[in-house]
């Protein structure tokens, strides 16, 4: 590996190169925070279809990907997005209409699955979900699993503790590893080789990156490697995991990016309203996704005043006193 390789490219090029029809994909962030939204919109704009999505609780991004017609199947723990959408609206409709194949896990299970993938293990154990329908009910049938070499042959496996009750535990649930074709993250800072720094909660981003064959990092600030390397203990993802780096200010908008900007309650709420109906949702996509060339185009439609309102207060890391009603 060329340690000096410059991986900076445009978002359009990064998505075209690493996100293909049918790719198994995961995105970073959690509900209304640090979803790689610019990359999500570009994926929709490029008309990529039939993605197999692995999600713990990536509400904002996942709901747009489903609404944009990009998703064929989803393994998910939580399809909700704060107050604007307690259940993500396009996700809810897609499942009720049967247009997306779905399978449910818990958040810990999805996190462990990425962790197993990052560790190179086939599975990891947990004590979560014993006796529940998360074990009993499969969304991906045996037939689907047999046809797709990227899927484990079973959903979850209950196993007796082979250490005979050690740690006061009789049984464990084995969760299969995930190794996505591509993981897309938005981070606060990255250098041109891909070394990345996340501020605030990391959610499961680091394991999602390390488990993936390719990683696209979008960043608020593209910085010199020397800046990040002067305090390496604050960097979570070394460049060896990263395939592409894209500089996209406000790349998580309308979700938040700690210490840079808050979520935009008005845009999340407008999205939720538009998502309820196919006609209004199409108009939403035409305006904010298909009708603009890139993320800057979307931000121009939102306008400087709105972006100013969500700018993070340096003391708290969010927009103190923001009207969130």
């Amino acid at each position: 590996m060329d340690v000096h390789a410059d991986k900076v490219m445009t978002l359009a090029e990064a998505i075209r190169t690493y996100v293909k029809d049918g790719s198994h994909i995961s995105i970073g962030g959690f509900t209304i925070n640090r979803n790689p939204m610019a990359a999500v919109y570009e994926t929709i704009r490029q008309g990529i279809k039939n993605l197999h999505v692995y999600a713990h609780s990536n509400g904002t991004g996942v709901d747009e990907l489903i609404g944009g017609g990009c998703v064929g199947a989803i393994e998910i723990a939580y399809g909700g997005n704060g107050r604007a959408a307690p259940t993500c609206i396009r996700f809810k409709q897609a499942i009720q209409k049967g247009t997306v194949v779905h399978e449910d896990y818990s958040n810990y299970q999805m996190s462990l699955r990425f962790h197993a993938g990052a560790m190179g293990l086939p599975f990891l154990p947990t004590r979560s979900s014993l006796g529940t329908d998360i074990i009993n009910k499969w969304g991906l049938s045996k037939e689907i699993r047999e046809k797709d070499p990227k899927l484990a042959n079973r959903k979850l496996v209950v196993m007796d503790n082979p250490f005979d009750g050690w740690a006061d535990c009789k049984k464990v649930v084995l969760v299969p590893a995930i190794n996505p074709d591509v993981t897309v993250l938005h981070v606060q800072k990255a250098d041109r080789q891909g070394t990345s720094r996340i501020l605030g909660l990391t959610f499961a981003d680091v394991d999602q990156a390390k488990a993936a064959k390719n990683v696209i990092v979008t960043c608020e600030e593209l910085v010199d490697a020397a800046d990040l390397r002067s305090e390496p203990e604050y960097n979570q993802i070394p460049f060896i995991h990263v395939s592409a780096v894209v500089h996209v200010p406000y790349g998580a908008y309308p979700s938040s990016c700690y210490r840079y900007y808050d979520y935009d309650p008005a845009q999340l709420s407008d999205f939720a309203k538009a998502a309820k109906d196919d006609g209004t949702f199409k108009a939403y996509l035409d305006k904010f996704v298909y009708g603009v060339k890139d993320h800057q185009g979307l931000l121009d439609r939102i306008g400087k005043d709105r972006l100013e309102k969500i700018k993070a207060d340096p003391r708290t890391g969010y927009a103190t006193g923001l009207d969130r009603k």
Binding site: N33, G80, G82, T87, D104, S106, Y258
Partner: protein
């Protein structure tokens, strides 16, 4: 003393939190209850979120567990693996009380937050487990917020997302779950609890102006009402905490 139903529910739940508890909380009214307890009966309680933030300052009320407001002045900002390990780990897990909500609950406190009808082609789809199944699997005590309606208190849940006492005494142990389970159900009409022997739900307290009959009329299964007494209404100081400290912007309440 004038108060709203949501204020009453938040205070009833806050009273379930003991000083020193580590409180796992979700969004909305459960966050209000956890924050209120810190200013009332449990000043040494610690609020934490599945996203990985522990003992956040919460100067403003978060709208989601990933809201940047949970990150401000936390003891640490980790990730999902750390937060769930805190509950699975017996050293810290024993101190955790979970606050959850659901679309359906049965008499053994099993919760459905996934779907109504067939799993593959549901009539109504909800958000899914998130961390709820993990919390219900790991921690010794849980408070559950519910709306009292027949369809939300069915004989059997359509999808068992988060384990309560499963099918009764001894079931959690048989399946390999940790001991524990739901301890209180806070609804718009009443506070329900679970019998220590039968593990079945019973009516503990009905709210002022609500009859036990009305509560039974809003459930598909029957519960014991013989131990029920009227709930103590919120005090002036409890209401002051809610209105002036916890949610002065009236975002949730």
């Amino acid at each position: 003393m004038d108060y709203t139903l949501r204020e009453l529910m938040a205070i009833i739940a806050a009273r379930e939190i003991n000083n020193g508890d580590i409180v796992f909380c979700g969004t909305g009214i459960s966050m209000v209850a956890a924050m209120a307890a810190k200013h009332m009966n449990a000043p040494e309680s610690i609020i934490f979120f599945e996203t990985g933030a522990i003992d956040s300052a919460l100067e403003e009320i978060p709208m989601a567990v990933a809201d940047p407001r949970v990150m401000y002045c936390a003891a640490s900002n980790g990730g999902l693996l750390e937060s769930f390990a805190t509950m699975q780990n017996r050293i810290t897990g024993e101190r955790v009380i979970g606050i959850l909500g659901a679309a359906q609950i049965d008499k053994f406190g099993n919760l459905n937050s996934t779907s109504i009808g067939d799993y593959i082609r549901p009539k109504t789809r909800f958000s899914g487990s998130g961390g709820a199944c993990d919390v219900a699997s790991f921690v010794p005590r849980c408070v559950i917020f519910m709306q009292h309606e027949k369809r939300k208190f069915p004989k059997t849940v359509d999808y068992l997302t988060s384990p309560g006492y499963l099918d009764g005494p001894g079931a959690r142990e048989r399946e390999g779950l940790m001991p524990g389970g739901p301890t209180a159900v806070v609804t718009n009409l009443a506070l329900m609890r679970f019998d220590e022997t039968t593990k079945e739900m019973y009516l503990a307290n009905y709210y002022p102006g609500i009859t036990p009959r009305k509560i039974l009329d809003n459930m598909e299964f029957t519960v014991d009402i013989s131990k029920a007494t009227e709930a103590a209404p919120p005090t002036a100081s409890e209401l002051k905490v809610l209105r002036e400290v916890v949610d002065p912007q009236r975002i949730i309440l």
